[in-house]
């Protein structure tokens, strides 16, 4: 049985920092579809549309009938561990630091047999298991066999922790602790076991409901942070930059304006906060987080961006806001590409309308801040990197993938 994760001692300051290393990142174009599904928490395999064969590893043609008519479909991970072994040596730096490693062959009920990491709580072969695809430190999908039933400390398995970002014992920065969303996320992080939650406060002279109550929680520390101010961001990074394990950027400026009904000042303010704010945070907090990505048992692990589903396809009634979120989305993809060198997961959250004052005129369903916070905790625990929380986001991402053009037209009058 996996021993429970124990609270890490403070770092020994005379010991050299363990530098982050990565498992092999290369994947074929076909295999990247496994990664694409895992990024959203799904396990998909290639299904042959002609003969029905389910195959692995991914290929360009069906191994049974040579058809090229293959489709990626969500696949049941139920299977049997038919052989397992323990790896004690590897020339890959990443694995060398992590041996002994349990590996095994899983035969899925759906057909194929696959080589997978094996969770410590799985019995010896033969035994029933659940197979999941997870993103590893390289950001690429790998397979992991889990026990068929949840076990007590399942999340604390060392290899599973390599692929997830559980907030337990972690130090979290929530960049805007004044908004209802920021406060809900701060509370959710505490409930998930975070050791410290720094709650950023900008423009302290503007009162924010709930902040005083939040500040009474022992894990909360209010910090001055205005992401529109380079100096403020750098000043805070100078103090806590070397401690943040999870950064959740909730700072957001939102007004409901179209393109032609206002000057450029609101658009400017949205870009200052939603786009340039993220850039400032990335420059100030990114390097130290990357340096600490392999430190001890609870290293720096994840960077969460609060985007908007309208970053994918603009909502004209919130036109400049959508544009600023699209810019932030593009930036977050670049951030992800850079953070991957250390294995820091960049999690993008694409909510539909949040139930707040700037979405007053949008019809329900609207996402409650607590529901959004819950979705972020779940994503961190499951190691997911793209999150579409709530019905509206789910609906829009589905329609976006069906036809971006149809969706564009349908958003015109909303």
């Amino acid at each position: 049985m996996t021993p429970p994760l124990i609270k890490p001692k403070p770092r020994n300051p005379v010991r050299a920092l363990r530098r982050p290393t990565l498992p092999p990142p290369a994947r074929s174009r076909a295999a990247l579809r496994l990664t694409a599904a895992a990024a959203e928490g799904r396990f998909e395999l290639q299904h042959c549309c002609d003969c029905g064969t389910v195959q692995y590893p991914p290929r360009s043609a069906c191994v049974t009938c040579l058809s090229t008519h293959l489709e990626w479909r969500e696949t049941d991970g139920v299977g049997e561990l038919i052989a397992d072994t323990v790896l004690h040596h590897s020339n890959e730096l990443y694995y060398r630091e992590r041996v002994p490693l349990r590996l095994g062959m899983v035969r899925l009920a759906a057909g194929p047999s696959l080589l997978a990491h094996v969770h410590g709580d799985c019995g010896s072969a033969p035994t029933p298991v659940r197979l999941r695809a997870h993103l590893d430190k390289s950001g690429q999908a790998v397979l992991m066999a889990l026990p068929s039933q949840d076990t007590t400390n399942m999340a604390d398995d060392p290899m599973l922790r390599e692929m997830t970002s559980d907030p337990k014992f972690r130090k979290v920065l929530v960049t805007d602790g004044k908004s209802a969303v920021g406060q809900a996320i701060a509370r959710a992080m505490i409930d998930a076991g975070a050791e410290i939650v720094w709650a950023g406060v900008a423009e302290p002279w503007k009162q924010a409901g709930g902040l005083d109550a939040l500040a009474k929680l022992p894990q909360i520390e209010q910090v001055t942070l205005d992401v529109t101010d380079e100096k403020s961001v750098r000043d805070l990074a100078g103090v806590i930059g070397g401690k943040v394990d999870i950064l959740i950027n909730t700072a957001e400026f939102h007004r409901a304006h179209g393109v032609a009904d206002r000057g450029t000042e609101t658009a400017h303010a949205e870009m200052e906060m939603n786009y340039l704010g993220l850039l400032r945070l990335a420059q100030a907090f990114g390097p130290a987080m990357q340096a600490r990505a392999a430190e001890g048992s609870v290293p720096a692990t994840a960077w969460v961006n609060l985007l908007s589903i309208y970053a994918l396809s603009a909502l004209p009634s919130h036109g400049t806001f959508s544009a600023s979120k699209a810019a932030a989305f593009a930036l977050s993809q670049n951030l992800r590409a850079e953070m991957r060198h250390a294995g820091i997961r960049v999690v993008n959250v694409f909510p539909g309308p949040i139930d707040d004052e700037w979405n007053q005129l949008l019809p329900p369903p609207k996402l409650a801040p607590a529901a959004l916070a819950g979705a972020i905790v779940k994503a961190l625990r499951e190691g997911v990197e793209d999150v579409y929380p709530g019905d509206v986001a789910q609906d829009i991402v589905r329609r976006f993938r069906e036809s971006a053009k149809v969706l564009e037209r349908e958003l015109w009058d909303q």
Binding site: P204, W205, K206, Q207, T228, E230, R255, T266, H268
Partner: protein
């Protein structure tokens, strides 16, 4: 040649004692709060500073910054065009106001004790007449500066002083403003707070009387002043020149006062 002698004497007094220069300006910094409007209105951009280079790969031998801020940021000057009442006046903007408006004598009304007792303290015409009883009549084309010691509130929260009903900072009432404009022909009104009007002035009749009446009569404003406690009630000369912005409604200023020692 009387003017030349005066200037020569002034230069001597500035160099050798007798006349001191007092800095009436707050430091322009991202930390200094900017005016807050209800969120449905567009906002004054706060002061922000981004490094261009600092003796590094972005520019090896030089240090400089790009700045961004609204016209009404930090210690700043309000031109008559700032308010709708002054929009059609001649020479009403930072580039067209006569330069003589930027150098003027100052009368300093000490309201520090009253403001300490009551954040919503209002300066009335009666207060002004009582002040004149002690210090003499306010001369035409002078600045009238309201000392509240508000500039000593270094905590931005205390400086802004918001609660759920808005801002609570001292300022003039409508009759005081009319008295200064109509009966004393002042150049303008200056404060240590974030506006020339009181924090609650949105509820006055007319709303924002200092902006409405002063600017409507072509008069100016100074706000976020500091060090007014170092000025005598009368006898100082204020130098406060806005940047020469094309049709500018105001500008941050380095406000100075010449004070006899």
């Amino acid at each position: 040649m009387r003017g030349a002698e005066t200037l020569s004497e002034l230069a001597g007094a500035l160099a050798g004692g007798g006349v001191r220069v007092v800095d009436l300006s707050q430091t322009l910094s991202p930390r200094f709060p900017q005016i807050v409007l209800p969120p449905e209105f567009d906002q004054c951009a706060p002061f922000r500073m981004a490094e261009i280079s600092r003796y590094d790969e972005r520019g090896p031998a030089w240090y400089w910054n790009n700045l961004s801020f609204g016209e009404h940021t930090g210690t700043h000057f309000d031109a008559p065009i700032h308010w709708i009442t002054g929009r059609d006046l001649p020479n009403n903007a930072t580039d067209t106001l006569p330069a003589a408006s930027f150098v003027a004598p100052a009368c300093v009304i000490d309201c520090a004790a009253e403001s300490a007792r009551d954040a919503d303290f209002l300066l009335t015409a009666d207060h002004l007449r009582a002040w004149e009883g002690r210090h003499g009549k306010i001369p035409p084309r002078a600045w009238v500066l309201m000392r509240s010691d508000w500039s000593k509130r270094t905590d931005p929260v205390a400086y802004q002083n918001f609660d759920e009903t808005g801002q609570h900072t001292p300022g003039p009432d409508a009759r005081a403003v009319r008295f200064l404009v109509e009966e004393r022909d002042v150049l303008g009104f200056g404060t240590e707070t974030i506006g020339t009007d009181a924090g609650q002035a949105a509820h006055f009749r007319p709303p924002y009387p200092c902006h409405t009446v002063m600017h409507g009569a072509g008069r100016c404003g100074l706000q976020c002043l500091a060090n007014l406690d170092l000025l005598p009630p009368t006898g100082s000369v204020v130098i406060a020149a806005p940047l020469k912005i094309l049709r500018g409604s105001g500008s941050p200023v380095r406000a100075l006062a010449l004070v006899s020692e």
